[in-house]
Symmetry: C2
Subunit: 120 residues, 2 copies
């Protein structure tokens, strides 16, 4: 093994990749937001309050497990949520502070728009 | 011809379909916004001021004519822009008032986020 290689940070394949804040891209954020099911996940995380963590199974989404996993991955890879393993559960938290620092008001505006559309 | 059929509103194929305001959907709006080139079109229309119309060729986009036409169509079908023929030119205007009434603050937040990302 080349000693100059960075040490792998994965622990038994249980650590998930997240973009650093400065690598979060607006087009990927908007793409991730452009889906009613993913928006519903973000609405629940936002309603749960800053720093709140919910497990994937807490959401009870009306889709298969693999589809659900796909949607959470899209949200994580876009930089909208952080996913962490706690024992056998995968916990999800909104990256609200990162997003607010990058794009002030954007997430609030999208969540408010989603609420208005549901109320139509 | 069945006299009870609605009269076609298309004039020699030169009228373009637009969603009525109440049929504009958030997921389609976000999908349309999730592209740097389409965002650049909206930025220019917003900067041109309320009610301003620009022809497709005014934008000088770095893509082929057919790709450009596709992007404008995505924006129109999502309800973000109105397109009107004036002689041989296809003119584009932001549907700012419709969007503000449906989703207050959303377009401004996205345009501000785009400006911040460009300034990084």
């Amino acid at each position: 093994m080349n000693p100059s290689s960075p040490a792998p940070v994965t622990v038994a394949g249980r650590t998930l990749d997240h973009p650093d804040r400065e690598r979060i891209r607006l087009d990927q954020v908007l793409q991730a937001l452009a889906d009613p099911l993913r928006l519903s996940v973000l609405r629940r995380l936002a309603a749960a309050g800053p720093g709140a963590e919910l497990s994937c199974s807490d959401f009870d989404l009306p889709v298969s497990k693999s589809t659900s996993t796909h949607h959470f991955r899209v949200l994580r890879e876009a930089g909208l949520i952080a996913q962490t393993y706690r024992g056998t559960a995968k916990m999800n938290a909104l990256r609200g502070a990162d997003l607010e620092q990058l794009f002030p008001g954007l997430l609030d505006a999208v969540l408010a728009a989603a609420a208005r559309e549901r109320a139509r």
